[in-house]
Subunit: 430 residues, 2 copies
C-alpha cells in the first residue's frame, strides 16, 4: 500500500469505503472506551494494596522523631517521609517540604502565593502593571496551562524538540523579558511526548540569566520514577544541583508526588527547592495549615521503606504498562507506519503517547473516534488556551483500559486517523 | 481571706511571701507542661484507633456511587462523606464540598481566592484601591487573625458579649462600610471563651444588609459537636437556613472538620454554603486539584457510619475532657473565686477556658507561669496583631495534659495570677 498522498482519488475512495465498513462494524458494538486521562488501571492500584495494612490499630504511630502522627504538629513533613520523597526527587532532605496529596495543588499554591505575596520578597504579581508571562513548552500538560490561565498569566508557546524545549527561544525570553516569571516543564518522560530533556538542555536551564529576579523554573518531575523498561531508561540531570553550581540555587521549584506510585488522590506530594525558597514558603504555609496528613506520610514510608522499595514497586507498574504501550505503538506502526499521515514518538516511560496528525485533522480524529465509543483527551488540550495552532496533536493515554480494550481502542484510533486523513487529502485534490 | 484590693500593703506582702514559697517549691520540680494549643490528648486519639482498621487490603474500596476511591476522580467528595459532614454542619448534602484534612486550609484558600478572583464575580480584593476590612470578635482565634493579617486585610476588634459579638457594632460596620468584606466567627463554644451565639445574635447576622455584595460571614463551627455535657448542651441556630429565610443565602461560608473528632491532621474538612457559592468555588477548585483523599473520606464514613455514630463518639471525648475542664474550673473557683483579680466563663463545650486578669497583667502572668515550666498560649494571641488592648486575656487549653499534670498546671496558673496581681495592686498603692 503506497502512502495516501500518492494515491489517486479513486484509490482513496475505494480505501475509504473499506475503512468505513470496518468502522461501522466496530461502532455497532456500542463500546465505551476511556483514554482521556493518565489514570492508572485497577491492576496497578492493586499493586499497592499492602499499603492498606501497614498501619492498623496496634501499630506504633509515632514517627522516628517520636511525634505522635495522629496529633497536630510538624508543618513540613515527618523526617522519614522527607527522606523518601527527597530521594525520589533527587535532592537533599533539607531541600524538601512534604505537602498533602497533590503536586498540582502545590503548583497552584505556588503560583497563587506569587500572585498575592511575590517570590522570596519580590513584588506580588497582582501589584505589577503589566501581565506576568509564563513560557509553555508545547505540547504540554493541560492542568499546568489551566493554572496560569486562571491567574490571568500570559502564556507563550515554546516548541518542544527531541532534546526538550527550544532553548534558544527560552534563553531569549527569560534573559531579556522581566515579565517572564516562569516556565512549565515536565522534564522526564514529558506529558504528552514522553521525551526527556537532554543533559545540555538541563545545563542551559541552569545557566539562564533571568531578567526577572522572581523567575522560577516550574520543574514538574511527575514521571521521574515511571520507567517502562529496566534496560532502557532515560536519565535526567538533577537541576537543583546544576542551578547551585551555576550560582543561582533559588531558580528552580521541583514538584513530585506518589500519585502514580501508590494511589492517585491518596498519595503524598512534595516541593523541592533551595533552603531560601523553602523558608519563604514555610512562612506562608504556617498561615495556611497546621500540617498535612502525617498518618498518610507514615503509611507510605512504612510500606515502601525506602527509595529502593519504591523502585522495585515501580517495576511492577512497568510490567503492567509496558504491554499496553507496546500494543498501541505496534498498532500505530503496523497501520500507519507507511501512510505518512501521522508521526509519534516511542516513549521509554511516563503515561502518554503523543500523536501528530496531518495539520487540521486532530479535532476531527478525536470526534471520529468518539463516534465509535472511544473518548480521548480533547484535541488542543496539550496547548495553552486549548489552541493547537496546527490542530494536529493528540494525546493517547494507554494506562487505564485493559489490554483487550486497548486493542480495539487502537483499531478505532487508526481507523479514525485514516478516514479523516483521506477526507483531507481528497479535499486537497479537489 | 478578703479580696486582694482591700488588703493592706503588709497583708499583701505577707501573702506574697507565702505564695512565692509555694511557687519556688513547684519551680524546683523542673516541670514541663504544655497548655499552648487545643490539642487532643493521647487518650482521646486512642478513641478512634478503630479507624485504622476499617480499611484494609481486603476491603471493597468503592464508594456508594461505584467509584474506586483509590483512583483519580470526584472533585468535591464522595456522597457518603458529604452526607456525614453535611449532617455535622447541619446543612443539606447539596450545600457541601469536602476538602482535605484542614478547615484552616479551606479558610485560607477562601480568603486567598477572594483576593485573587473575588467572591462570586465581585472585583478581586487585590484590585481594590482601599484595603479590605474584616471584623474580628475578640477575644478570638489567632489563626483566623493570622490569615487576614497575611493578606494585608485591616482587622477591626468587635467585643464579645455573653450572647456573641456586639451586634450593634457589627451591623453598623457591615451595613455601612463597603470595604468590610467579612467577619470571623466561632459561633459555638467559641475559641477561647466557650460562648455560643444566642438565637437573636444568629438572626441578626442573617438580617445583615451588607454594603459590600461580596461580604461573607466566615462561620467556623469548629466545636459544633464538641459538647462537654450530655444534659447541658448549647444550641446554635443554623445560619445558612436563616440567611436563606432572609433572602440572602449566599452571605455565609460555614467551615468544619473532623480534626478533633478523629485525628488532627488526618481528618476530613468541609465548607458549607449556598449552591451559587459552591459552584463558584468549584470553578477554582478544579484548577487547584484533581481531588482530595477519597480513601480517608471512606475511612471516616465506614468508621463513624453516620452522624449518630459521631455523636456517640463525641460522648467518649466528653468523658475525657469534662474532668479536665472541671479540674481547672474548680481550681480557679477555689483559689480565685473570692479575690477579684480575674474572671472567667464556665464553658459547656469546646477546647478552651478564657481568663481575664486585672488589666495589664496577662503577659506577666504567662511569663510567670513559664518560670515554673507551664507554657501557655502567648498573652495577646487572642487579639488581631497579637495586641490585647487591656493585656488581660489568657487562653487556657486543658485538653492535652493528663489530669495529674493539669492539677499542678492549675496550681502554677493560679499562683502566677495571684503573684502578678499582688505586684500590680502593690504598685497602685504606692
Amino acid at each position: 500500500m503506497p502512502v495516501y498522498k500518492e494515491m489517486s482519488k479513486e484509490e482513496l475512495l475505494q480505501e475509504k469505503t473499506a475503512l468505513e465498513a470496518k468502522f461501522e462494524e466496530i461502532k455497532a458494538r456500542n463500546l465505551k472506551l476511556d483514554m482521556t486521562r493518565g489514570k492508572p488501571s485497577a491492576a496497578q492500584l492493586d499493586l499497592a494494596m499492602g499499603m492498606m495494612d501497614v498501619l492498623n490499630s496496634s501499630t506504633d504511630l509515632k514517627c522516628e522523631a517520636g511525634v505522635d502522627c495522629r496529633n497536630y504538629g510538624i508543618l513540613d513533613g515527618i523526617d522519614e517521609a522527607k527522606e523518601l520523597l527527597a530521594d525520589m526527587t533527587e535532592v537533599s532532605k533539607d531541600n524538601i517540604i512534604i505537602y498533602g496529596n497533590s503536586s498540582l495543588n502545590i503548583m497552584y499554591d505556588t503560583v497563587s502565593r506569587s500572585v498575592t505575596h511575590g517570590v522570596m520578597g519580590s513584588t506580588p504579581w497582582c501589584k505589577l502593571d503589566q501581565p506576568v508571562k509564563f513560557l509553555c513548552p508545547v505540547p504540554g500538560y493541560d492542568r499546568h496551562f489551566a493554572i496560569t490561565e486562571h491567574f490571568g498569566i500570559d502564556m507563550i508557546n515554546i516548541p518542544m524538540t527531541t532534546t526538550g524545549p527550544d532553548m534558544d527561544l527560552v534563553e531569549q525570553y527569560v534573559n531579556n523579558d522581566p515579565m517572564v516569571k516562569g516556565i512549565w516543564c515536565v522534564p522526564k518522560y514529558s506529558n504528552p511526548q514522553g521525551l526527556t530533556y537532554s543533559d545540555e538542555t538541563v545545563r542551559r536551564f541552569a545557566r539562564l540569566k533571568p531578567a526577572a529576579e522572581d523567575f522560577r523554573i516550574y520543574w514538574d518531575n511527575a514521571y521521574g520514577v515511571h520507567h517502562l523498561y529496566d534496560d532502557k531508561q532515560d536519565n535526567l540531570v538533577e537541576i537543583l544541583m546544576e542551578c547551585k553550581k551555576e550560582g543561582h540555587p533559588d531558580m528552580v521549584f521541583k514538584f513530585c508526588s506518589t500519585s502514580k506510585v501508590s494511589f492517585p488522590g491518596s498519595g503524598v506530594a512534595a516541593i523541592g527547592a533551595s533552603k531560601a525558597n523553602l523558608e519563604y514558603i514555610k512562612k506562608q504555609m504556617t498561615i495556611q495549615t497546621i500540617g498535612h496528613d502525617k498518618l498518610n506520610q507514615l503509611r507510605h514510608v512504612r510500606y515502601f521503606k525506602d527509595i529502593h522499595g519504591m523502585v522495585l514497586h515501580m517495576r511492577k507498574h512497568a510490567e503492567i504498562l509496558r504491554p499496553k504501550f507496546e500494543m498501541v505503538l505496534n498498532g500505530l506502526e503496523r497501520e500507519l507506519g507507511d501512510k505518512e499521515i501521522g508521526t509519534w514518538i516511542n516513549p521509554r516511560g511516563g503515561y502518554f503517547i503523543s500523536f501528530d496528525s496531518l495539520p487540521g485533522c486532530a479535532k476531527a480524529i478525536v470526534a471520529k473516534a468518539k463516534e465509535a465509543g472511544l473518548v480521548m483527551t480533547a484535541a488542543g488540550a496539550t496547548f495553552p488556551y486549548g489552541k493547537d495552532p496546527l490542530d494536529s496533536n493528540i494525546r493517547i493515554a494507554p494506562s487505564y483500559p485493559t489490554l483487550e480494550e486497548l486493542e480495539v481502542a487502537t483499531e478505532i484510533f487508526v481507523l479514525s486517523v485514516k478516514l479523516v486523513s483521506i477526507d483531507k487529502i481528497l479535499a486537497e485534490k479537489e
